[in-house]
């Protein structure tokens, strides 16, 4: 444990009372060396209460910000409390605590962001994706590949590890729109951070419902494509805006 730099597992949770206790229990049993922060994203159920009962850190957002906002809260927490690195972990039981090690190893190899991929070679295919969705993901994968000139097999995976510099960067500028993960990936690459992908086995959900319905997903998807296309041309401007938020009035 003393050889392990201080590591924070960030769990964004919106009404996840059904699955969260089991996830926290598993983390406590299998990876007790990591601190855990649950960000209750305006939950209206017992999410925060149950997390607190499990003895982990709990940040309670006053209303729902979406996963990007919840993550940014977690990143800020990690930076202020002096954590060396952080892992983004799902509250619905999709992620395996034992796979966290593989992500952290990626950081040890010098990466700033490590993505646990459901589709990389070596990741067992226990994760089912429907036809339309798979094609949509393919398009994204291709577009991201073109934009950042690096191939990723799973651009939207929410199983990720972040180095300290990456955390400091994202604490200010993590995208807060839905499908944040893809935009964050592009931002990191464009910002000159090293991004790596490692295979990660993922399971089906253990409880709760997927966060978004299909027709809404299509809208978010189109919006994301627009954001991605625009983001490459206005990179300088975004950097300026971030700088202004830090120092300006």
């Amino acid at each position: 444990m003393t050889t392990d730099p201080r590591t924070l597992v960030i769990i964004p949770a919106y009404n996840e009372e059904a699955s969260l206790p089991a996830v926290l229990k598993e983390l406590a049993e299998q990876t007790p060396e990591y601190d855990v922060l649950v960000v209750s994203d305006g939950s209206t159920d017992r999410t925060a209460e149950l997390a607190l009962a499990a003895g982990v850190h709990v940040a309670t957002l006053p209303f729902n910000l979406g996963i990007g906002g919840a993550l940014r809260t977690g990143f800020t927490f990690a930076v202020r409390r002096g954590y060396e690195r952080a892992v983004q972990f799902d509250a619905d039981g999709q992620h395996d605590p034992l796979a966290v090690r593989a992500l952290l190893d990626g950081l040890d190899r010098g990466a700033d962001m490590v993505i646990g991929s459901r589709f990389a070679e070596g990741g067992a295919v226990t994760y089912e994706v429907s036809g339309v969705r798979r094609r949509a993901m393919k398009v994204l994968q291709w577009l991201v590949g073109v934009l950042v000139r690096q191939h990723f097999t799973d651009t939207s995976s929410g199983f990720r590890a972040f180095s300290r510099p990456m955390l400091e960067y994202f604490a200010n500028s993590y995208p807060v729109e839905y499908m944040d993960s893809v935009e964050a990936l592009v931002q990191a690459c464009n910002g000159g951070f090293r991004v790596e992908e490692v295979p990660a086995n993922m399971r089906g959900r253990t409880g709760g419902a997927p966060s978004t319905r299909n027709f809404k997903l299509v809208y978010y998807y189109v919006r994301l494509l627009v954001v991605l296309l625009v983001s490459t041309t206005s990179r300088g401007q975004r950097a300026r805006r971030t700088a202004k938020r830090d120092g300006g009035p």
Partner: protein, 123 residues
């Protein structure tokens, strides 16, 4: 324009200006917007009193139908205004988010020190 229509337009413009004055005096309109709306109100009043100005302006830019000039001006103004509001809304949302995040972190710290209190999620 008939005398009746002329009077109607003048009355309407006066009404708009009176309403803006009322909003500003009761401090329900921020100063930066009051200047904007006062200018608009004055512009409307001038056009209402001297409708020939519109004809003159149309001739100047080569628009054959004076009301179209008015529509063009009004539409351009509204477009810019709506764009400005979208920008302002985005900025406000950014700030609200930042506040919410800060609130969550401060609350975590306070509760960490004082111990939890009941009704976390609802409050």
């Amino acid at each position: 324009m008939s005398t009746g229509a002329h009077i109607l337009v003048i009355v309407l413009a006066a009404g708009v200006i009176a309403f803006i004055v009322h909003l500003v005096r009761s401090r329900r309109l921020r100063a930066k917007y009051s200047v904007l709306w006062f200018s608009i109100g004055m512009g409307l009043a001038v056009l209402a009193v001297f409708p020939d100005l519109l004809v003159w302006l149309s001739d100047l830019v080569g628009i054959g139908y004076p009301p179209a000039t008015f529509m063009l001006l009004a539409l351009s103004f509204l477009l810019v205004l709506v764009l400005h509001f979208s920008w302002e809304l985005s900025r406000l949302e950014d700030r609200t988010r930042a506040l919410a995040e800060e609130h969550a972190l401060l609350r975590e710290e306070v509760e960490d020190r004082l111990g939890p209190r009941p009704g976390r999620d609802s409050g």
